[in-house]
Amino acid sequence: MTLSRFFKSSVTAAFLFLISLKPFKGFTQNVSDEINSIHGNFQIDAQYYNADSLIGAPKVPEKMLSNAFGNINYQKGKFSAGMRYEAYNNVMQGFDARYKGQGITNRYARYQDKLLDITIGNIYEQFGGGLILRTYYEPGLLYDNSLDGIRVISNPYKGITLKGLVGKQRSFFTVGQGIVRGVDGEVNINEILDSLAKNIKTKVIVGGSFVSKFQIDEDPHFNLPQNVGAYGGRLNVIRDGFNFFGEYVYKENDPSVANASSVEGKNYYSYRHGEAAFMSMSLAAKGISFMIQGKRVDNMSFRSDRDATLQNLLINYLPATTRQHTYLMPAYSPYATQPKGEVGGMAEMQYKFAKGTLLGGKYGMDITLNASMANGLKVIGVNDSSSYSTLYTTNYSDVGEQYYHDYFIEINRKFSKKIKGTLMYANQFYNKNIVQYGSPNAGYKNIVSNIIVVDLTYKYKPGSAIRFETQWLGRDNKDTLNLGSWASELIEWTPTSNIFVAVLDQYNYGNPVESLKLHYFLVSAGYTSGPHRISFSYGKQRAGIFCVGGVCRNVPASNGLAVSITSSF
């Protein structure tokens, strides 16, 4: 029975199960004494679409599309259970149409005491930093790679945590073909050496993991490994403001669509191993902090289905060692780790100029300096497509072409009791061929952007403010394959702490095509009351392309009215 059928047939069972818990006060007099908690949240996003040929917004036959979900979690003592209902009628533009319809996509039951923690159902888990296994849910991206199976966590001795799990991953309204098995052990040395822990300031935590996936080999041309294993170790050292984390993962031969190559007009898988290393070190003292991160990734797309693409059925998580910006223009060209191969790093310094100093002024000033970059690996072709089919190799000492860099400075300063501001300058390099299209031959030029952000907030009374934001993104306006320079203006008024109204204009004044020098206006407003929030926006949003592993998906431009309602209890 497929999981989707199970989900549908289990709706009634799940409903009866929750009702049987009697979570409502009116049921019996003493029910509330028995219940520890019942909590959850809902979110509904809907948009009415207008066709707009100028910005490329397509006609939507349904006119209105919506994504919605609700989580309900129940806990009583050592037992907890929950479920999530999702509904896509139909799924909003920019998301995969395989999210179609509605049903219970997540349900679990968990029992947890001092010795044992057992979960059955949909499991979210992370081993170490996630290089080998991380399952999580991100509703904004419709990302959910939860494992539907069983997980056991045990603390057999103080400071020792053992985890084991087995299951299949969620894929839209069903589960993927592959089975994922994993074990993880973590030892907190200080906790084991109880007497020493009191005297030694340095904390040391070591861990190791093994994850294996099984997928049947039905390929008529290749002998594919049905079981693919990956293993790794990690070390975490903490002392006062110093924190070091390092992790290394090795993956055995894992031929998949992500590492397939065309050799003399024929498509081959690579049977080469994969590996990933990540380290992060930070040092914080009063008023100043430093952080450096580095990673090297080689053939580390690890999925429970060797034919899965884009964001589907990923077992592991490869963190981007670049800053994820929140301002519009610095976030215009976001970077994502290239699982096929990448070496990258980031360094950041934050300094606080104290109050009363020349630069700190009356209220102090924060400054952040950040530099991050990512390059490809230098790939050396191996002519073995008819034998071992590794297809390529790499050297640790060599670095390939540049994929991305982001150098920025951000200054946050409070000028008076009522006025505060942020100033940012960023210089970014974006290899569009690789980052968007996954190929050096996609035909686009590299994009170099200079970005300035000025953000001023005037708090004219407690809970009431006006915020002005102006952003500029300068690029080569002659590059007809890209969209040239942009300017963005935002005015946001918060008359009370629970209401906001904002007007945003993104102006593509540098578009090399005269008729496409367009304004993208967006008006939005929102109201918050306790755990409930409703917001509206009306206007235009830009298009984009999203590519991973040799498959590209268009996120079309849109023009229309959007509504978002969130609520929690």
Binding site: P156, V166, G443
Partner: protein, 279 residues
Amino acid sequence: MKISLILISILVCFGCVSCDKVNNPIQSEQIIVSNRKVLLEDYTGHQCGNCPNAARTAEQLSAQYGANLVVIAVHAGFFTKLNAPDFVTSYTCQVGNDWDAASGGFGISSAGNPNGMVNRKDNGSGLIQKETKWGSSIAKALQAPDLCDMWLTLNYNTISNTLNTTVKTKFKKTYGSNTKLSVVLTEDSIIGPQKDYTQNPDVITNYVFMHMLREGINGSWGDPLKYAPIKYADSVTLSYNNFQVNAVKYKPNNLYVVAFVYDATTKEILEVEKAKVIK
């Protein structure tokens, strides 16, 4: 504590043996003898730089399985858009757009290009399949029971450029669902620009498009063929006469008619046949 250690030990043992090292990746060619014919739909676009790889896979499979495999290349979705100076000819058609649509169709391009379907059947990893999956899905489909026989009779008038198509079907097994028949026109050897990320520069100006879906002879979703219950030896013949072929847009010598029977509920393709318009 004992219980947890036992449980963890079981999982450790289970995990530790779970790794295969393959030293001989290439299989010796297997020959599948089958009376069945299988339909492979390759959803593509002339601005999709990863799509020629999938087309090459389709050609390899076509060469391997010969008449047992019928390929249709469906140009639909974002990567079919027109951009001067290279991409000025549209290869989309209403049938392809309807099949590709997120609403009412299969939503292929919303899942990204290239992608495809084999007999419009989910073989365990989803209906929409990457080209690396096509080979195993075709092999599996060829070994499935043969439901019906199909005979295509074409009569093309070279003066009026009209086409008469007769499709005769005879069921070899009982079947419990309603069935439909779709008849479409495809064309080979169309030369035009195509993006190909394996090439530098990435635009191939004289790319040869094969199996391109051109038009529906009986609409996007065909006509009812036989309502359930279908019995052994049930036979149905449907004819489509005087279909006007656009001989300016298409080269009649390169045209084919592809007809397929499918389950009206699941849309799974049960049998497919292909014939050249001008022999």
